[in-house]
């Protein structure tokens, strides 16, 4: 019964991953991160993604504050923030978020405030979606390793 639980959870994880790849939410770089996880660094993906979330939310707040200000004009600075966001998204394989950053950056290069606002909406939406899905993935992983742990209890 517990054995079935582990297998089912793994199947759920794989299915979720497959969907995310198919939708272009994640790309092969995410697989690369998974390959970097092993016994010596068993929570690597979770750790990196957590850092990514923290930094991304900081950047999103800055972008939102900038564009809420009607007087805002430092689009060059905005471009720098977007480059950071773009870079870290690409490093974890967050393809759709990265692509929105590219479009956002183009709008900011044109000093197109309306275009930037639209891009920001889209970016916030994509980011939220990504975050929810990755948390789902991490939860499944946690459940799976717990179920596997119960199956093979430690000897005392």
């Amino acid at each position: 019964m517990l054995g079935l639980g582990v297998d089912r959870l793994r199947a759920d994880m794989n299915r979720l991953l497959a969907i995310l790849f198919h939708q272009g939410v994640l790309d092969e770089q995410f697989l690369q991160l998974q390959q970097l996880q092993d016994e010596s660094s068993p929570n690597f993906v979770f750790e990196v993604v957590t850092i990514y979330f923290r930094e991304s939310e900081k950047l999103l707040r800055i972008l939102r504050d900038n564009l809420s200000d009607r007087e805002f004009s430092d689009y060059a600075k905005m471009g720098i923030h977007l480059n950071q966001f773009l870079g870290s998204s690409s490093s974890i394989g967050a393809k759709r978020v990265r692509n929105v950053c590219v479009a956002f950056r183009t709008a900011s290069e044109q000093n197109n405030r309306l275009g930037c606002l639209r891009a920001l909406e889209l970016l916030e939406h994509e980011y939220c979606f990504l975050k929810n899905k990755l948390y789902e993935l991490f939860q499944l992983e946690q459940q799976r390793s717990m179920a596997a742990g119960v199956r093979y209890p430690a000897q005392h």
Partner: protein, 250 residues
């Protein structure tokens, strides 16, 4: 574990020197890589890529810190000469606030103590003039982000070969006369088969099995020709030097 408890300001974690030091104090088996990137996410990833490839890693968040670590920030530092702090490779992001990777590259290549250290530039953008500029300034390679395990492996193979040659050469010079006589012939064979980069007109292909990329070396007058450079993919076939970079980012 996070990057919060910094022992040294600007470093993500203390250098791994202690844990990797061999009993005799030498750490020549493990490559020591200095990674420079202002992005914490990228630092974590490159650090892991390197560690999983059996390298020692020191990660810093700026060019300034990199120079400090090397001891190039003005003060005469005793870093040079300490075997276990010796850096075998510097890998740096291009766009960083303050000092760019390009500026860092120039500083390193302009230093007599450190110009021999290979420097690799990383960038999320595939900008040809930028790539050319870096290579002209002496960068060993230019990697388009995101960096992959295969990139690190390729770099490591190349650097290890270079280190092997250096080690062999220094061993020869330190050896006794008796040893020198018997070793010299062997050294000639080893050096001629592995030093494909320094002599660009050398036609010999390396005999070591772990360097598949060297066989694609084409004769070139550029002093920066490195054996791990592949024939470049798409854009310019008109330039002299075969480029090593990964252009695809699909």
């Amino acid at each position: 574990m996070g990057s919060t408890a910094l022992k040294i300001d600007g470093l993500d974690e203390p250098t791994e020197v202690g844990s990797h030091r061999d009993l005799d104090g030498s750490s020549q088996e493990l490559l020591h890589v200095l990674a420079v990137d202002d992005s914490l996410v990228d630092r974590k990833v490159i650090e892991r890529l390197l560690k999983i490839s059996s390298c020692k890693v020191t990660a810093v968040d700026s060019g300034t810190r990199a120079l400090q670590y090397l001891g190039l920030d003005g003060e005469k530092n005793s870093t040079v000469g300490f075997n276990d702090l010796k850096v075998n490779l510097i890998i740096t992001d291009y766009w960083m606030p303050g000092m760019t990777g390009y500026e860092l590259l120039k500083k390193i290549k302009g230093s007599s103590a450190f110009r021999e250290i290979p420097v690799v530039i990383m960038s999320s953008e595939n900008v040809l003039p930028r790539i050319n500029r870096c290579l002209e300034e002496g960068a060993e390679d230019f990697i388009v982000k995101p960096v992959k395990l295969s990139d690190v492996k390729r770099l490591k193979d190349y650097i290890m070969k270079e280190e092997l040659v250096t080690t062999e050469e220094s061993r020869v010079s330190k050896g006794t006369l008796k040893r020198k006589l018997e070793v010299s012939e062997e050294e000639d064979r080893v050096i001629s088969s592995t030093t494909t980069s320094s002599s660009s007109s050398s036609p010999s292909s390396p005999s070591s099995p772990s360097s598949p990329s060297s066989s694609s070396l084409s004769p070139c007058s550029s002093p920066m020709n490195s054996p791990s450079r592949r024939h470049k993919t798409t854009e310019e076939s008109s330039t002299d030097e075969p480029m090593l970079c990964r252009y695809s980012s699909c």
